[in-house]
């Protein structure tokens, strides 16, 4: 593929001179609040979500403090119940479901497919405002007495307990629309806005991940919407669909809830899979092994994910026949997930592996997600789930996949795209230390919980029997290490914003469009010229415009041949890298 990065001479485009980029072409608070630029919306989301993550994470630390010993340590039952409920709700509905698509999807997706923006920029901005409206309703719920139903809102407890439940359900209804808007936008963008030459087989795998996610968002989210509407009507008018005292059926509510919330777990993990493919490919400089298998398995997981919701209800009293069907399909999801894991490992084979911070997160992900997945298979085993359901085994399972999987991938992705987003490098040494702390702290927190759970420690307990004390204490210490790691990240990220070294356009030697064809800090319109795509996303051996060689040789001498090494990369670079575009 002949790739010329030969841009039109800079002088020609006066309005595109070096200094303007999407961050500074327009300033003032209003230019942010009214922006239709997908990159800025990504940043708006990033800030809001970081605040939510911080709040929910701090609640988690309080929870662990309470659980450090049996009996009451720092809070009573009522407070504890509210704390774990808010932790779950914030983490799931207001942080992890929007997180990767809304931050990195928004920022990266249009650039990766060579588009100037998403298909509906106004809708994209509306999504953020709707999300914020959901956040405000959540605060209203806190002010009106709080919520203590658990993030699952099981009826009849939730429909009769009052307090802030009404507001909280409304918040989730509203926040759902933010998710629908994002998904809708991305589906259309991927279908209609690809640059010339960007065929489906040349889509970066991150796009495939986001695309599969968007399908789930669009199909599943309306159901949580109607569920919340029915729950609100149940609370206000006693319509009797879910409350047995009124002739309703509480198990029906669980069907409604999990019809959304199981697919929602794939909303959380599929984009993480996408990030992982990018990281593994870039940092091992090899073509993704089984590209097509990884791409299609995302879609397969998205579809199969709609058929297994009842595995949360094995002991709820649903019919045995449906439990059996749900259990069978649950395992089938393990297979496309396995395809991914194995393909990623195979991609490392004969690669050129560069252990930068993002890659450390990718490797942590492989370890943690595999544990999470296997424990998922374990709780999918009908007879065993009877023992494990609603114990800490399940708690540990979902933290392994959500924190150890999605959040770790998100952290990896944030480090990877940080230079593109901010134009600055983070501190590599601190990055590695933090990645280590997160990995160790995470396992220390949640591995003991696996053991606690299989030994019978129920979840949502503010207080517990003496015999569980040792492992709980260990878990609490782990949470401190984990917290230290995350706060370190927060610290050096802020530091980097102010004092970080300026980043080159392509610090990692990546070969997707956002690195090869976009300035160090992207331009307002992303590309100076619409790119024409002539090779696959991970064809490092063809990417002469990045690495030099091939027929790129003929094209001139002022073209950078080798990626500028990141400031902390191995320094014995031979070619003098020239300033990049």
């Amino acid at each position: 593929m002949s790739t010329t990065t030969q841009d039109a001479p800079v002088e020609d485009e006066a309005h595109h001179d070096e200094e303007t980029n999407y961050l500074n072409h327009d300033t003032g608070i209003w230019s942010w609040l009214a922006t239709k630029d997908h990159k800025r919306i990504g940043i708006l989301y990033c800030i809001s979500l970081a605040v939510v993550f911080l709040a929910a994470g701090i609640l988690a630390l309080f929870m662990r403090a309470e659980l450090s010993a049996p009996g009451e340590t720092i809070m009573g039952n009522e407070t504890y119940n509210q704390v774990f409920t808010m932790h779950g709700i914030l983490m799931v509905f207001l942080f992890l479901v929007p997180s990767i698509p809304a931050i990195l999807g928004n920022f990266v997706l249009p650039m990766q497919i060579g588009a100037k923006d998403v298909a509906f920029p106004k809708l994209n901005l509306a999504s953020w405002y709707v999300y914020m409206a959901g956040a405000i309703l959540t605060i209203a719920a806190l002010l009106t007495g709080g919520v203590d139903t658990g993030w699952t809102f099981y009826t009849p407890y939730s429909s009769t307990t009052g307090g802030g439940v009404l507001w909280m359900t409304a918040a989730i209804f509203v926040a759902g629309f933010a998710s629908i808007f994002t998904g809708l936008n991305f589906i259309v963008t991927v279908h209609k806005m690809r640059a010339p030459g960007m065929t489906w087989n040349r889509l970066p795998l991150f796009i495939w991940g986001i695309y599969a996610t968007s399908i789930v968002q669009v199909l599943a989210t309306p159901v949580i919407g109607i569920t919340m509407v029915l729950l609100i009507l149940e609370q206000t008018m006693q319509i009797g669909i879910f409350d047995p005292a009124l002739g309703g059926d509480p198990v029906l509510f669980q069907h409604f809830f999990w019809f959304y919330s199981h697919p929602a777990v794939y909303i959380m993990i599929l984009p993480a899979f996408g990030i992982l493919s990018e990281l593994i490919a870039t940092f091992s400089r090899s073509r993704i092994f089984g590209y097509r298998a990884i791409a299609l398995s995302s879609v397969a997981i998205a579809m199969l994910g709609f058929l297994v919701w009842g595995h949360h209800m094995f002991v709820s009293g649903q019919s045995a026949i449906s439990s059996i069907v749900f259990s069978l399909i649950t395992y089938l999801i393990g297979i496309p997930s396995g395809i991914k894991v194995f393909n990623w490992v195979a991609t490392l084979y004969k690669g050129s592996i560069w252990l930068q911070t993002p890659m450390l997160y990718a490797l942590s992900f492989l370890f943690l997600f595999t544990i999470g997945g296997f424990t998922g298979i374990m709780v999918g085993v009908l007879a065993v789930d009877v023992q494990l359901h609603d114990t800490y085994y399940v708690v540990s399972h979902f933290h392994y996949v959500m924190m150890g999987g999605s959040v770790v991938a998100l952290l990896g992705g944030m480090h990877y795209w940080w230079p593109k987003i901010t134009g600055r490098m983070y501190n590599e040494t601190l990055g590695k230390i933090a990645a280590g702390l997160v990995f160790v702290g995470f396992n220390l927190t949640f591995f003991p919980q696996l053991v606690l759970g299989s030994r019978g420690m129920p979840r949502r307990y503010a207080n517990y029997a003496e015999r569980f004390a040792g492992l709980h204490e260990l878990s609490t210490y782990g949470s401190w290490v984990l917290g230290a790691g995350l706060f370190l990240i927060l610290g050096y990220a802020l530091w980097s914003l102010a004092y970080g070294e300026e980043a080159p356009a392509n610090p990692w030697g990546a070969t997707t469009l956002e690195w090869t064809n976009v300035a160090a800090i992207p331009d307002h319109h992303n590309f100076k010229r619409t790119p024409l795509v002539t090779r696959g996303p991970y064809d490092f051996h063809l990417a002469d415009e990045v690495f030099g060689g091939g027929d790129g040789e003929a094209l001139g001498d002022d073209v950078p041949r080798i990626p500028e090494p990141a400031p902390s990369a191995p320094t014995e670079d031979d070619t003098a890298a020239s300033a990049s575009a």
Partner: protein
């Protein structure tokens, strides 16, 4: 390994569940170690030596890809088949099982035996299949005995059941594992596995003869029905108001500002329709005990009367 992961096994189902658990754990561990070892080895073996390095693309291998589809499929089908058979066994109640009724409420359990004995501790005979028939008086609960590997949600307005055959004498925990509000974590009970003889003896001793004096009946019910979880007799404040000195009180303040005189009628309605009048300073959390018989209510009232030395003013 089972000992590290799993609690004591005290029912006939337990070994079966445990071997399945152990099997999945072992297979998962092997696969996990394989994946991680390969990963670490590649990371070490193919670490980047030079920043400009560009390895040649690796040919994909169909055989490899097919094998990692087929092998996991076989494994999961194996596990599914096994898990599903045990599940059927776990959930199919043997026809001759001894039946105990379980009533769950926020936040206590009551166990009721065929002869009418009720208790807040579950007594079961060893080596005999026992079936619970459970229902809840308000929200969802879940009946969980880790040592027996049984769990089942307890629903309002629908009976559900679990069965087990305890194999070891001893005392085991019953937990509530479906979140049910404030004192969910306090909603535990004990199940005592005893020999058939001890069991029969206990059943006989606890049976409430009709000629037992009312206050003594009330005293028994005080613990059997779980009143003691919320009401003290010594004046201390728990979830509900103490019963000490309650009877005969005048000007007893309600949440809506009205006052009542605590007489027998008031106590009666407080027990049967607990939501009607809420005492000032307390939540409306007390379950309605409308399932009590007239005699039982009378017994409770008599017992509460004993806790006070006053009488309501006559008029």
């Amino acid at each position: 390994m089972g000992d590290f992961w799993l609690p004591e096994a005290a029912s006939t189902m337990a070994p079966e569940v445990d071997s399945l658990f152990n099997f999945v754990t072992v297979v998962s561990t092997i696969l996990l170690v394989g994946v991680v070892a390969a990963m670490l080895w590649f990371v070490y073996r193919y670490r980047r030596q030079d920043p400009g390095e560009r390895p040649a693309p690796v040919e994909e291998s169909k055989l490899l890809e097919i094998s990692w589809i087929v092998i996991p499929t076989i494994l999961v089908l194996l596990v599914f088949n096994w898990g599903f058979k045990s599940f059927i066994k776990q959930k199919t109640v043997p026809p001759d099982a001894y039946e105990i009724r379980v009533q769950a409420r926020q936040w206590s359990w009551t166990f009721e035996y065929p002869n009418g004995v009720t208790s807040d501790t579950m007594y079961v005979p060893a080596n005999e299949p026992v079936k619970t028939t459970m229902s809840s008086s308000n929200v969802l609960h879940s009946f969980f005995v880790p040592a027996f590997r049984v769990k089942q949600d307890v629903l309002p307005n629908r009976y559900s059941s679990v069965w087990f055959e305890a194999t070891k004498k001893g005392t085991y925990d019953v937990f509530c594992t479906e979140y049910c509000g404030l004192d969910h974590s306090e909603m535990d009970a004990a199940v005592k596995v005893v020999s058939r003889e001890r069991f029969d003896q206990w059943l006989k001793e606890s049976a409430t003869p009709t000629d037992i004096p009312l206050p003594r009946l009330g005293e028994q019910l005080y613990s059997q029905q779980g009143c003691q979880g919320c009401h003290s007799l010594d004046g201390s404040d728990m979830v509900g108001p103490t019963w000490q000195g309650l009877y005969g009180k005048t000007g007893h303040e309600m949440a809506d500002g009205s006052t009542v005189t605590v007489d027998e009628n008031y106590l009666r309605t407080s027990i049967l329709q607990s939501g009607d009048k809420i005492v000032q300073g307390y939540q409306n959390v007390m379950p309605s005990y409308s399932n009590l018989s007239e005699r039982e209510v009378a017994g409770l009232v008599a017992f509460i009367k004993e806790q006070s030395d006053q009488e309501p003013p006559q008029n």
